[in-house]
């Protein structure tokens, strides 16, 4: 974990309630795809944990949904705004288990961490397939960005207004894959677990206090003992989860 000050370079709306924020600053604290950052916002006590969409040495990209007061405040920040951010939080995904053709499944606000993961897998010569699940057309984002990485992308919408009608698992059923990586709402993760034909890693959400393992606010019981979603997670192995 590292604490540094980042400067907002751009903050743009990319879909309904969904914003992409690009920040400049020291990203050396980030060590794995699927980690998150914890952002201090003026006027709020707790930091806001946001998953990392992409990063390089000194540029951080976050995609977040403005759903509460904190994220609504973030959505109003313009270029030049300075933010105190803790980076490199959580375990992130283990790429070594992917096999040659892993499937990456992002649901709604769970789509962003799949992006950096996809980029790294492609760089390793893997052939990731991507399923992006949304409720409806105006929520869809990043389809082209994933395609630009060279991944095969299937978009599903629950109401059928864009792409394949149905849930991510409807797309998953027809696929052949070597491993699963996913992030999204818990009912989606559970459905993936029930559909999965291979093992995989799932990223979970929980209300957090500190985000770095001190407060025990976000604990969850697993088959291998109690884990802190913020420190021992957010990525858990499919087999260890008690549904």
């Amino acid at each position: 974990m590292k604490q540094s000050i980042f400067e907002v370079k751009a903050n743009t709306k990319i879909a309904e309630n969904t914003y992409k924020m690009v920040l400049g600053g020291d990203c050396s604290g980030i060590t794995a795809s699927g980690q998150f950052v914890n952002i201090k916002l003026d006027g709020f006590f707790l930091r806001r944990p946001i998953s990392v969409c992409d990063y390089d040495d000194n540029e951080l990209t976050l995609i977040y949904k403005a759903l509460g007061k904190g994220t609504e405040y973030m959505a109003e920040l313009g270029a030049g705004a300075k933010l105190d951010i803790l980076t490199g939080l959580g375990n992130g995904y283990d790429l070594s288990k992917s096999g040659n053709e892993p499937v990456l499944i992002g649901g709604g606000a769970g789509v962003p961490p799949m992006y950096n993961l996809c980029r790294k897998l492609v760089a390793e010569g893997k052939k990731p397939q991507v399923i992006l699940g949304f409720n409806k057309e105006n929520e869809v984002f990043f389809e082209n960005e994933f395609k630009a990485l060279g991944a095969e992308v299937t978009v599903t919408t629950a109401d059928g207004s864009y792409g394949m009608k149905g849930f991510v698992t409807d797309a998953l059923k027809n696929m052949k894959y070597t491993y699963i990586y996913s992030c999204g709402p818990e009912p989606m993760l559970k459905a993936i677990y029930n559909t999965a034909e291979t093992s995989g890693q799932l990223s979970f959400e929980e209300r957090m206090g500190c985000g770095f393992g001190a407060c025990m606010g976000c604990s969850c019981a697993t088959k291998y003992g109690n884990k802190r979603i913020c420190k021992d997670g957010p990525v858990l192995e499919m087999e260890e989860i008690i549904w």
Partner: protein
């Protein structure tokens, strides 16, 4: 050169700054960030006889100038704390720690206190009779002078180290409870634990916290804590470790003026992992600003 040293029941601390129980784990997460030996001491995660998962999640909620937690004393149990956590802690902290103990019966408090008393690293035993997040225990002891007296007496009988009783603010008369601690042999008072609070989610129209209520802490509670420390200081002759909403060196001084000999920092650690380090580094500067040469000289100075 200002003097930041204070003494708690014979235990000399380099400075009065102590991370509060439950906000610092067993120290390792913070030892990765800075040398935690700069701390006066620290109070480790509340420990019970049996291992506990704690309450269902969500157990954290945002509040104006603070937060609610309902962790519910998640801990690996006294045996594992002694066999695993303390040896690990020894590698990153070479000062005496404050052992925070909780129980669900007088016997459980005694059981844990007797065992932790034998640990060389432990300087003070802090008895938590004020956790708002556990049913049939915890705060139930801390809200009655009679029960606090029983726990204090029982723990004192089986221990040799200084015993501090950590009090709840969720009472009508904290002074009478503090007096009951002193009369039954307590060596000091830690105060205050969190204030019982609630948030309601407008979307679900239900409490945010799964356990409905939780302990409110953070900057907002500083005035309540100061008032209570001030009142108890006038009523007892044993030292007070003051806490509640402390996040700056100025807050530390204010708490000591109210009557605290040392000061714990809680929720601030969770949002600013370097909070204690920053306070310790700023303390001499703030002392100079307010013309304080010797920190212990200001204890109770507001009276």
């Amino acid at each position: 050169m200002v003097n930041t040293k204070v003494t708690l029941s014979g235990l000399e601390l380099d400075n009065p700054v102590i991370p509060a129980s439950g906000t610092f784990g067993f120290g390792y997460e913070f030892a990765e960030l800075y040398d935690i030996n700069i701390l006066g001491s620290f109070s480790f995660k509340g420990t019970t006889k049996e291992p506990r998962f704690g309450n269902p999640t969500p157990r954290i909620a945002e509040c104006p100038m603070g937060m609610i937690n309902s962790v519910g004393l998640q801990n690996p149990g006294i045996d594992k704390v002694i066999s695993e956590e303390l040896p690990k802690l020894k590698k990153c902290f070479n000062k005496k720690v404050i052992a925070n103990i909780s129980g669900f019966s007088v016997d459980e408090y005694s059981y844990c206190a007797e065992r932790i008393d034998k640990e060389e690293q432990v300087g003070i035993i802090e008895i938590n009779v004020s956790c708002p997040n556990v049913h049939n225990g915890g705060m139930a002891f801390g809200t009655s002078a009679e029960n606090v007296a029983k726990v204090t007496k029982a723990v004192k009988e089986v221990t040799t180290k200084p015993v501090y009783i950590k009090l709840s603010p969720n009472v009508t008369d904290i002074v009478s409870i503090a007096k009951a601690c002193e009369e039954n042999g307590a060596d000091g008072i830690s105060m205050i634990n969190t204030l019982l609070g609630m948030r309601i989610d407008l979307k679900t129209k239900k409490p945010v916290i799964a356990n409905k209520m939780g302990g409110f802490s953070g900057t907002a509670i500083l005035p309540v804590a100061l008032r209570m420390v001030y009142q108890v200081y006038e009523a007892v002759n044993i030292p007070i470790i003051g806490m509640g909403g402390v996040s700056t060196a100025e807050d530390v001084i204010e708490m000591m003026l109210a009557g605290a000999t040392a000061v714990q920092v809680g929720a601030a650690n969770l949002v600013e992992p370097f909070a204690c380090k920053n306070i310790i580094e700023n303390l001499p500067k703030v002392m100079e600003k307010y013309k304080i040469d010797d920190l212990k000289s200001i204890i109770g100075g507001a009276h």
